[in-house]
C-alpha cells in the first residue's frame, strides 16, 4: 500500500504528459472529422470557421451573444453538477428548462404588480417549475425506488407535451389573437417591464444581466460544495451512500434536495431565456439547452469553475451557428461539432483511466 502511495505521483506525472497528448490527438481527430464533413458537403471550411468566429467572438455584439448563450448552459450545468456530486444522475434538464420557462411565463403574463417584482417572481416561478418537474422523479425514487435516470428522461417527453398543451389552449398560455389571425402555438410576449434589462450598448457589449446572476450562483455553489457542511454531506452521499447514511445523512432529503435544486437551476435557465432573450413561451424554448448543459457538466468533469469556460465554448458554438446561414452551411454543423468535441473530451480521460485501472485491477486478485 505504501508502495502504491509512492508510485502514484510518478504515475500521474507520466500520464499527465501522455494524457495531454491524447487530448490533443482526440480533439484533432474530432476537428478533422468536422472539416471533412464540411468539405465533402461542398462548403469551404475557412468560410465556415470565419462565420463561426464572426458569430461568436468578433466584436461586442457577437461576444454578447456568446455570453447570452453560455449563461443558461452554465446554469443547467451547475444544477447537473450538484446532482452528480450527490451521486444522482439527472438527465431530464431539457424538460425542466421547458417547464421552468412555462411556469415563468405564466407568472410573468398573469401576475399584476410592479415590473421588477414580477420579474423576480417570474424567475422564482421558473425555478420552482423546474424543481417541481425534477421533484416528480425525486418523489418516485424515494418513495418507490424508481430509477432516476429513467424517470427524468421520460419526464422530458411529458414536459414537451405539456408545453404544447399549454400553448394550444386559449385558457392557458396561448397567445391572444387580434381578430381573425391564425393563432400560433406560443404565448403572448411578456410585458416589457418583466423583461430583463440588458447591460446596454456600452461598450458595444450587449449582454443580458443574467450572466452576473449565473456567475454568482456558480461561485456560491463552488464554495458551498467545497467548504460547507452541506457540501461535505453531499459528497459523502455521492461517493458512498451507505456510509453517508450510517453517519447521519438523510439520503432522501439531501439527495432529493439535490435533485430539486438541479431542476430548479434548469428551470431558472428556462426563466432566463424567457425573460432575457425570447420574451415569450414556445414549446421549442428549451432548444437543447438542457441536453447541452448536461454535456457541459460532463466535459467539465463536475467542477463548477471548470464549467465556466466549457459553457462559454459551447455558447460560442451556438452563437456562431447563427452566422453559418450566410455561408450556406446548415447550422446543424454546430450540434455535430459539439457532439464530436464531447466524445473527444471524454475519450482521453476514460482511456487513461482504463490504462491506470488495468494494473491495480489485477492486484485485487492478491490474497
Amino acid at each position: 500500500m505504501t508502495s502504491l502511495a509512492t508510485r502514484l505521483p510518478a504515475m500521474f506525472r507520466l500520464s499527465s504528459l501522455g494524457t495531454l497528448l491524447l487530448y490533443v490527438a482526440s480533439f484533432a481527430v474530432a476537428l478533422t472529422l468536422a472539416t471533412t464533413l464540411v468539405t465533402l458537403s461542398g462548403h469551404s471550411m475557412s468560410d465556415t470557421v470565419l462565420a463561426l468566429y464572426q458569430g461568436s467572438l468578433e466584436g461586442g455584439a457577437s461576444i454578447g451573444l456568446t455570453i447570452d448563450q453560455a449563461a443558461p448552459l452554465l446554469m443547467v450545468a451547475i444544477g447537473a453538477i450538484i446532482c452528480a456530486r450527490a451521486g444522482i444522475f439527472n438527465i431530464g434538464q431539457e424538460g425542466q428548462v421547458l417547464i421552468g420557462g412555462m411556469t415563468g411565463a405564466a407568472v410573468g403574463l398573469f401576475l399584476p404588480g410592479p415590473g421588477w417584482l414580477v420579474l423576480l417572481l417570474t424567475l422564482v416561478g421558473a425555478a420552482l417549475g423546474g424543481a417541481l418537474w425534477a421533484g416528480v422523479p425525486a418523489a418516485l425514487f424515494y418513495w418507490r425506488k424508481v430509477d432516476v435516470v429513467i424517470s427524468t428522461l421520460l419526464m422530458v417527453f411529458v414536459a414537451t407535451q405539456l408545453a404544447f398543451f399549454a400553448v394550444n389552449r386559449d385558457y392557458l398560455l396561448q397567445e391572444s389573437g387580434t381578430g381573425g389571425t391564425v393563432l400560433s402555438s406560443q404565448s403572448d410576449l411578456i410585458p416589457e417591464a418583466v423583461q430583463l434589462p440588458r447591460l446596454g450598448e456600452y461598450p458595444d457589449l450587449n449582454v443580458s444581466l443574467y450572466v452576473f446572476i449565473v456567475l454568482g450562483f456558480t461561485l456560491a455553489v463552488t464554495l458551498l460544495l467545497r467548504y460547507s457542511r452541506w457540501g461535505f454531506r453531499l459528497r459523502m452521499l455521492g461517493h458512498n451512500p451507505i456510509a453517508a447514511r450510517r453517519n447521519g445523512v438523510r439520503a432522501g432529503a439531501l439527495g432529493g434536495g439535490a435533485l430539486l435544486l438541479s431542476g430548479g437551476f434548469a428551470g431558472l435557465a428556462g426563466g432566463m431565456m424567457l425573460t432575457g432573450s425570447v420574451f415569450r413561451f414556445q414549446p421549442g424554448l428549451a432548444d437543447n439547452v438542457g441536453w447541452e448543459g448536461l454535456l457541459v457538466a460532463l466535459v467539465a468533469r463536475n467542477h463548477p469553475l471548470l464549467a465556466i469556460p466549457v459553457a462559454v465554448f459551447f455558447g460560442a458554438l451556438r452563437a456562431g451557428g447563427g452566422f453559418l446561414a450566410s455561408t450556406g452551411v446548415p447550422r446543424y454543423l454546430v450540434s455535430i461539432v459539439t457532439a464530436l468535441l464531447v466524445l473527444a473530451a471524454v475519450f482521453p480521460a476514460a482511456y487513461a483511466e482504463i490504462r491506470r485501472r488495468r494494473r491495480p485491477a489485477t492486484a485485487v486478485a492478491g490474497g
Partner: protein, 722 residues
C-alpha cells in the same frame, strides 16, 4: 523459520504415505508480482491424487492468487505447472476446465435471479440443454447428497443451499481437481460437516483431488490429509495433518507465537466443530489412516478450549457462580499456570506431540513461552498499582517500539499481548497494554469497577475478589432492544422479535451463522432500517429507529463489518473520514473549518496510531487495518455510550487483529457497552463477558461466558433448540 521449514520437510517426507506416485498437481517456482507487491514468491505446491490438501494462510498470504493461477484467472510471471506429471500452460479458465480443474469461489459466482439449473450450466460451452442440466443437478445431487431443486431461483435459497449449488456446479463437470476457497465461512456447523463428508466421499470413492483453502485451523485439521502453509507469498511449511496440531499450524501460519486472542481467532470454531461429533470425527480420522496417538493429540488440542470453559465453570461455581465475566474464565488458567510454565518455556516444539498434548490442556498460556520475564516488565515501566484510567503509557501507545528482551520480535505489538497474557488474563491485563483515549475519565460508571479489575493485572493471579465485586454491582443497562421486528425491502423478515441488553463496561458477544439477522441488527443500530414493532433504548431513552443519525446522536457508535464498503468513504480524505460522524465539531456555522478539521484529524491519527502520510491522504490508499483504525477512531472519538463492532477482525492481518481486540477491550474497560457481532465463535468466546446467539432474526439463547457450552452453542447457532 527457514531452519524449521527444512526439518518439517524431512518430517513430511518420512511419514507421508503416498509420495511415490506422480503428483496430481505440481506447481514449481510460481512467482507473481502485482506492481511491487509480491503475491507469490517462488511457490512450490505438490498435491497427490485422492487427497484433500489444505492450503492454509492468513488473508493476503497468496493462497488465492496461487489458486487463480492454477485456474487460469491470473497469469504467473514465472514458474511451471504440471498436471499428472505433464507440463501445461493454463492461459484462461477454459483451459483449466478442460484439464479438469474446477473451483468453488468464495463469493460472486451465482447469479441470484437465475434458476439453479441455469447457474449450474453457466460458464460452460455449447448448447444450453435445459432438461439435461436439470437432470444433472438431480443426479449430482443424489450422488453426493447435495439435494437442491434445479428450478428454484437462487436468490430464494439459503446460504447453505447456495453453497450446494456451487458444489453441484463444480462437480457436474466431473473435475479431477476441486478447489474450494474458504467454503465454510457462511455455513452452519452441520452444513460444514456435510460439506466435508462430501469432500471425503469425492476423494476416497472417486479418487479426485481436493484443495481446500482456508485460514481456519480447525477446518484444516479436521478435513485435510496434508497441508501446505503459506505466509507472505511463500510456502513456509508442508505437513501431514496427522502429525501436526493447532498450535503448530497457527505458529507457522502467523510466523510466531500467537497471543491468546489471535490464536483463538485463527483457530476458528475448532472445539465446536469436533466436540459435539467426536464419534463421527474419530471414524473419519481413522479412515484417514491417522495414527491413533495423533488423533488423540488432535482431539486433545481440539478440546482445550472446552476444558478451559469447564475449568472456568468450576471456579465460578466455587466462588458463588458469577453471571459475568471475563475475570472468571481467565481465573482458571492462572491456577494451572505454575505447573505448565516449565513446559512452555521449552518452546513447544512442533515435533513433540507429547509436549503439545500437555500444552493443549492449557491453550492460552501455552502459547506464551516468553511469559516468564513479562510480569516484571510492565511493572518496571509503569507503576502497576496505578489504575488504568490514569495511566498514560507512551511505550504502549506505540507498540512499534520493540522491547529488546523479548525473544519473538517479528511483530512487536504482540509482545504486549504476551505481556498481557502471561497471566492468561486478557482483560485485567489489558489496561497496561496501550491506553487509548477511551480510558479518559468521562466514562464515569466503570471507574468503580476498574481499580479492582486492574489489580490482577498489576499484581498476579487471584481474581476471586473482582468477580464478586463486579457481580454485586451490576452496571446500568446502556443498550436495550425489546422485541424488535423488521422487514427487508423484499418483504422478507429480517428481525423476528429480537431482544437484548448490553450493560456498561460489558462485552456482549453475538454469535450466529452469517445471515441470521446480524446485518439487520447492525443496520438497525446505524439507523439504517426501521422497525415494524419493538423499541430500542439507549441509556433508558427510546431512540427512533431508522431516522438517520438518531442512533449516533443517542450515543451508539458502529464499526460495520464491511468497513470499506459502508464504514468509510474511500474517495474522501482520511481527515474527512475521521470527522464524518461529527462534522459539527469542526464546523463554524454551516461551514467546515479546514484548520480544525485537520487538527482534529491529526490528533486522532496520532492517538490511534494510524499509519498514514498525512490527514489529506485519500482513504483509498490505506491498508485494510488502517482503514479499520480510522473507522474505530471516528466512532470512539464521538465518545459513544454503546459501541457495536461487527466482524472487527475479518480480513485483517495479525498485527491489526491484536490492535483491534485490544482497543475493544479497552473501550469496554472505559465503560462503554460493547456489542460484538461475529461469526467467528472464538473471537466471541475470547472477548465477550456474555454470549448471545442469534438465529433467524431472534436471540435464541444467552449465557454468561463461563457457562458457555460449545456444543449447546453450536446447536443454537444451527437453529436446533438447545
Amino acid at each position: 523459520m527457514s531452519m524449521r521449514l527444512s526439518t518439517e520437510n524431512s518430517d513430511t517426507g518420512g511419514t507421508a504415505t503416498n509420495l511415490v506416485a506422480v503428483p496430481a498437481v505440481e506447481l514449481t517456482d510460481i512467482a507473481k508480482r502485482f506492481g511491487s507487491v509480491v503475491a507469490c514468491d517462488d511457490v512450490c505446491l505438490s498435491v497427490q491424487r485422492g487427497e484433500i490438501h489444505g492450503l492454509l494462510g492468513q488473508n493476503g498470504a497468496g493462497k488465492s492468487t496461487l489458486m487463480k493461477i492454477l485456474t487460469g484467472l491470473v497469469a504467473p510471471d514465472s514458474g511451471r505447472i504440471a498436471i499428472d506429471g505433464e507440463h501445461v500452460e493454463i492461459s484462461d479458465p477454459l483451459v483449466a476446465a478442460k484439464l479438469g480443474i474446477s473451483m468453488v469461489h468464495q463469493h460472486f459466482s451465482l447469479v441470484g435471479r437465475m434458476r439453479v439449473w441455469e447457474n449450474v450450466t453457466l460458464g460452460e460451452r455449447g448448447r444450453v440443454d435445459r432438461d439435461g442440466a436439470r437432470r444433472v443437478v438431480r443426479e449430482v445431487g443424489d450422488r453426493y447428497g447435495l439435494t437442491v431443486d434445479p428450478d428454484a431461483v437462487v436468490e430464494d435459497l439459503t446460504t447453505g443451499e447456495r453453497q450446494r449449488v456451487e458444489l453441484v456446479k463444480c462437480l457436474r463437470r466431473d473435475p479431477d481437481l476441486l478447489i474450494l476457497d474458504e467454503p465454510t465461512s457462511v455455513l452452519t456447523l452441520a452444513e460444514s460437516r456435510e460439506l466435508f463428508s462430501v469432500l471425503r466421499h469425492v476423494t476416497q470413492d472417486e479418487n479426485k483431488t481436493v484443495i481446500l483453502i482456508s485460514h481456519k485451523l480447525d477446518e484444516i485439521l479436521h478435513a485435510t490429509d496434508r497441508v501446505t502453509i503459506m505466509r507472505s507469498g511463500a510456502v513456509v511449511a508442508r505437513k501431514d495433518t496427522a502429525h501436526t496440531d493447532v498450535r503448530e499450524l497457527a505458529r507457522e501460519m502467523v510466523g510466531r507465537e500467537l497471543s491468546k486472542w489471535t490464536a483463538a481467532t485463527a483457530v476458528g470454531t475448532l472445539d465446536s466443530l469436533t466436540t459435539p461429533t467426536s464419534d463421527p470425527t474419530d471414524q473419519d480420522l481413522a479412515a484417514q489412516d491417522l495414527a491413533a496417538q495423533d488423533a488423540a493429540a488432535q482431539d486433545a488440542a481440539a478440546q482445550d478450549l472446552a476444558a478451559q470453559d469447564l475449568a472456568a465453570q468450576d471456579l465460578a461455581a466455587q466462588d458463588s457462580a458469577g453471571q459475568d465475566s471475563a475475570d472468571q474464565d481467565l481465573a482458571e488458567p492462572d491456577a494451572k499456570e505454575p505447573a505448565l510454565t516449565k513446559t512452555n518455556t521449552e518452546e513447544p516444539a512442533a515435533t513433540e506431540p507429547d509436549a503439545e498434548q500437555q500444552d493443549a490442556a492449557e491453550p492460552d498460556t501455552a502459547d506464551q513461552n516468553p511469559a516468564e520475564p513479562d510480569p516484571a516488565e510492565p511493572a518496571a515501566e509503569e507503576p502497576d498499582t496505578a489504575t488504568p484510567v490514569t495511566i498514560e503509557n507512551t511505550t504502549d501507545q506505540n507498540p512499534a517500539e520493540p522491547e529488546p528482551a523479548e525473544p519473538t520480535t517479528e511483530e512487536p505489538d504482540t509482545e504486549h499481548q504476551g505481556t498481557a497474557e502471561d497471566s492468561a488474563d486478557p482483560d485485567p491485563a489489558e489496561p497496561e497494554a496501550a491506553e487509548p483515549e477511551a480510558a479518559e475519565p468521562e466514562a464515569a460508571e466503570p471507574e468503580a469497577a476498574e481499580p479492582e479489575a486492574a489489580e490482577p493485572a498489576a499484581g498476579e493471579p487471584d481474581t476471586a475478589t473482582p468477580v464478586t465485586a463486579e457481580r454485586e454491582q451490576p452496571q446500568e443497562v446502556r443498550l436495550s432492544i425489546k422485541d424488535a421486528h423488521a422487514t427487508g425491502r423484499d418483504g422478507r423478515p429480517l428481525l423476528r422479535g429480537l431482544s437484548l441488553e448490553v450493560r456498561a463496561g460489558e462485552i456482549l458477544g453475538l454469535a450466529g451463522v452469517e445471515g441470521n439477522g446480524q446485518a439487520a441488527l447492525g443496520d438497525l443500530l446505524s439507523s439504517l432500517i426501521e422497525l415494524d414493532s419493538g423499541t430500542v433504548q439507549v441509556c433508558g431513552t427510546t431512540v427512533k429507529a431508522g431516522r438517520p443519525g438518531a442512533m449516533h446522536a443517542a450515543g451508539v457508535g458502529v464499526v460495520p463489518e464491511d468497513r470499506h464498503v459502508s464504514g468509510c468513504v474511500l474517495d474522501m480524505t482520511v481527515a474527512e473520514n475521521l470527522v464524518m460522524a461529527d462534522i459539527g465539531e469542526v464546523s463554524r456555522g454551516s461551514f467546515v473549518n479546514p484548520r480544525r478539521l485537520r487538527a482534529r484529524a491529526g490528533t486522532l491519527i496520532e492517538e490511534f496510531d494510524i499509519a498514514v502520510p498525512g490527514p489529506d491522504t485519500p482513504m483509498r490508499l490505506l491498508s485494510g487495518g488502517n482503514q479499520q483504525k480510522v473507522v474505530l477512531a471516528r466512532e470512539l472519538a464521538a465518545r459513544p455510550k454503546v459501541l457495536v463492532v461487527a466482524q472487527p477482525t475479518r480480513g485483517l492481518d495479525v498485527g491489526a487483529i491484536e490492535y483491534m481486540t485490544e482497543r475493544i477491550y479497552q473501550a469496554a474497560r472505559s465503560g462503554i457497552a460493547i456489542l460484538l457481532i461475529s461469526t467467528e465463535l472464538e473471537e466471541i468466546l475470547t472477548l465477550s463477558h456474555r454470549v448471545a446467539v442469534i438465529h433467524r432474526g431472534a436471540i435464541v439463547g444467552e449465557m454468561a461466558r463461563a457457562e458457555v457450552d460449545p456444543e449447546r452453542l453450536g446447536m443454537m447457532m444451527g437453529g436446533q433448540a438447545a
